[in-house]
Amino acid sequence: MSALHDETTVVAAERVSAIEGRLTRIGRSMATAMIPVIGAFVIGGLLLAVLGRNPFSFYGNVIHHGLIGSLGRQETLIRMAPLLLIAAGLMIAFPAGIWNLGTDGQYVMGGVIVADLGPELAPHFSGFVLFTTLFVVGFAVAAIWSLIPAILKAWYGINEIISTLMLTFIGLRFSAFLVKEYFYDRETTVPQTRVLAVADRLPRMFSSRVHIGLVVGFVAVIAVHFMMRNTAFGLRLRIVGMNPKAAIHAGMNMKALTLAIFTLSAGFAGLAAAVNIAGVDGVVRAEWNPAVGLLVVPLVFLARFHAASVIAFIAAFAVFQVGGESASRKADIPNFMVLFMVGLLLVFMALGEYMQLRSSRKH
């Protein structure tokens, strides 16, 4: 009886200590998550003070206009949609060892075609059909655009960092050319496409401005996460990324896999553009350079391609961007403050990752 009793207390004690362990682990990872934010805020605050602004009211405004205020929160959620989709694409390419740094070009190319096609199709098709068509077109255009680096890589071994970066510059120019020469709206003075009527845009949710593109983004990130971790295809991609020679030795079809990686990854960038245009923008101007891809790249790495972390990071950065823009306006400093803070946060997050790694090694 007493032996049994002892056993249960031992088991209970073990369980308690296990729970305690988990709690301290959670506490530690919370701390490592917060330290970068605090660090970045302190240094950013110093710069603000140097510029003669009150850091506290600035940060207060960031939180208020990015997260708490209803308008700001909606804007944040709207911003997240395309970022999530681009991230989904990168979550395929990077683990597979393909450095797709051309998401901006893929985004713009998909976007410009969708922007031209939208107002064209809107009178003839309704809701669901229209949006699916636009999504498929956005995805497909970007995927086709990415066939250039894909084929160069798979058949000729040409480094994709170079080709995708170059194709971003080319894509930006080419889309401007298309808008100016072919897609422009004759009724405006600035070169831009025709505008997709507000009534024809993506349906909103929760009686807010937030459109269903956000859902598409969430689904994409989670689906990619699942695919990379649980399917044979995902494992093949990861093997290609970790040791391409072993992939060849194991009999994998490198050319087909390379094409798949590029088209999927780029396709999501194109889809991101389609979602954004059909959801909020409704139009593309000739000098359009959204430059969203560059920011998503480090976030995806920091999140280690994990869906939950990707979503959390993108949410945090969207809050920061939206709130930061308002706060800068209020403090009457240029918007560049946000850029600087984003850079700082990334640096501190890299530091935080190092600390986390070190503490996990110790324990």
């Binding site: 044979a232 093949r236 990861r238 040791n243 020679k245 072993a246 030795h249 194991a250 009999g251 079809n253």
Partner: protein, 517 residues
């Protein structure tokens, strides 16, 4: 020999301990290296030998323990520290820069002001390679060399820089018997000048021939030692027996039996290679008109000094390399134009000798590496969805059957010892049901017991009708399991001959290009 030297040991390791997650690689190791002595270090795969010499050469930091050099306690924080104290090392796995030339690899890390003394270095390389009787073109790029040649370069480098202590971690695993013989002679000479040598090998005879003293490790602990006096006074057979027991525990049965069985005369010819040629950038073609025909269940040994086209032949057979001309025929059908995967589907398997480069995916678990060539196949995947439980179960079984030393099947394969990694690769291939297997140095880095187990499995497979091409630099292995043997020299394959006793001399001659038999 100088007397004072005998009094102060070159190196003393005192209480060295090193643990990795789930394994104690070294546990309270005490080891003394004396000048003028070759110290053989023996132990099964994963015993902790490489870890120990990693600590001595500065690659690995111990958790506890002390290192004394010439009586003085030191900290070896980096390989640089070790080199500065005259400790030169040949690591188990090539640590050369593949994109640099042989000469530049030898010069790497040597402090010598701005301008590199390439000419002086060339002269010294010439000197050392004459000593070792090796032929290495100093201007060839290391990545183009065969593993055996790379090992020679490493040996040259270690001899060059290890003035006080020379550590050799399986230096002969990739050398020919002649090459190994030469190395032994050189080491002997250096030792007589007062060098202390640590010599790791899985070949017991080598260890006893060359070693003045033998220490055996098992599961991270020292389990026994043979002193110079014992080595001199007791019979070889006795000592061998005892050492084997120390290495493997009581149940040791590591001896080469002759595994070969007869191939049935009436067996049909299944695998034919016709006039395969591959052009090369050097003076000789990589493959020069290679032809042979194999019957069902036959094992053809391919002997030769590493780097004479064996690897390329294997790659062509596997479909990893394009042949410029010739044909490969399986069951009267040409498979020349089939992809690697299609050949695998037809039952052609290639067991690579490059376990780090292409044999494994380092960061992935042992379990996933075991199913590396079966990604997407039932029962490990169903509807393309992974079934971790069945992969793990399968992996656990193979790990157990092949006695792979690992904490569990989920650790990254890159953390395994060299021999255990090789066991995983072999386990993966032997678990399949192939028609034709090409083995490239399958026993490289394996301890004696595992070697004999592997050879037995290959022979069993052949008995069951698997046609085998067995590439090796170990004549003893070829003789023990092959039915016929051919020699590769500069891309040419000699006419296969039946294996019989006493054939080694003839093969040795063929391997060096002599045609007069």
């Amino acid at each position: 020999m100088v007397l004072a030297n005998e009094l102060t040991p070159s190196v003393e390791l005192i209480g060295i301990t090193k643990t990795y997650p789930g394994v104690v690689a070294n546990s309270d190791i005490h080891l003394t290296l004396r000048p003028g002595e070759v110290h053989s270090l023996l132990g099964e795969n994963g015993a902790g030998k490489s870890t120990l010499i990693g600590i001595l050469s500065g690659m690995v930091q111990p958790d506890a323990g002390e290192i004394r050099i010439k009586g003085e306690t030191v900290r070896i924080n980096s390989p640089r520290d070790a080199l500065e104290r005259g400790i030169g090392t040949v690591y188990q796995h090539s640590l050369l820069v593949p994109t640099l030339t042989v000469l530049d690899n030898l010069l790497l890390g040597v402090d010598q002001g701005w301008k590199l003394g390439r000419d002086a270095a060339k002269a010294r390389l010439q000197e050392v390679s004459t000593l070792l009787d090796v032929e290495i073109d100093p201007s060839s790029v290391v990545g183009d060399l065969a593993l055996g040649q790379r090992q020679q370069v490493e040996i040259v480098r270690a001899l060059w820089r290890g003035e006080g202590v020379l550590i050799l971690d399986e230096p002969t695993s990739m050398l020919t018997p002649q090459g190994a013989e030469k190395l032994v002679q050189v080491v002997r000479r250096l030792v007589s000048n007062g060098l202390a040598v640590v010599f790791i090998t899985h070949k017991l005879n080598e260890a006893l021939d060359l070693g003045d003293r033998v220490t055996v490790l098992r599961r991270g602990k020292i389990v026994g030692e043979v002193t110079p006096a014992e080595l001199q006074n007791r019979s070889r057979a006795q000592i061998t027996d005892e050492v084997l027991k120390m290495i493997f525990g009581e149940k040791s049965d590591a001896s080469y039996a002759a595994f070969a069985s007869q191939v049935s005369e009436t067996a049909d010819e299944t695998f034919r290679v016709d006039h395969l040629s591959v052009e090369g950038s050097g003076p000789h073609p990589v493959l020069d008109n290679v032809s042979f025909t194999l019957k069902r269940g036959e094992i053809l040994g391919i002997a030769g000094i590493d780097g004479n086209g064996q690897k390329e032949l294997a790659e062509v057979l596997a479909g990893q390399r394009h042949a410029d001309s010739g044909e490969i025929i399986l069951d009267d059908q040409s498979i020349q134009n089939l992809s690697i995967a299609a050949r695998q589907a037809k039952g052609i398997r290639y067991v690579t000798d490059d376990r780090h480069g292409e044999g494994t995916v380092g960061p992935l678990s042992i379990a996933l590496n075991i199913v590396l060539k079966r990604v997407g196949e039932v029962p490990f995947w169903r509807w393309s969805l992974v079934r971790h439980s069945s992969i793990r179960e399968f992996a656990r079984k193979l790990i157990h059957d092949h006695d792979v030393r690992a904490p569990h099947e989920e650790v990254a394969i890159s953390t395994l010892s060299g021999g255990n990694m090789q066991k995983v690769i072999l386990a993966r291939e032997l678990a399949l049901e192939p028609r034709v297997v090409v083995y490239n140095k399958p026993t490289y880095g394996l301890d004696a017991r595992t070697t004999s187990l592997v050879l037995a499995s290959i022979a069993d497979q052949a008995k069951a009708g698997v046609t085998t091409v067995f590439i090796s630099t170990e004549l003893s292995e070829i003789v023990s399991i092959c039915h016929r043997v051919a020699v590769m020299y500069r891309g040419k394959l000699s006419e296969p001959i039946m294996v019989r006793s006493g054939i080694e001399l003839k093969l040795g001659a063929l391997m060096t290009g002599s045609t007069t038999l």
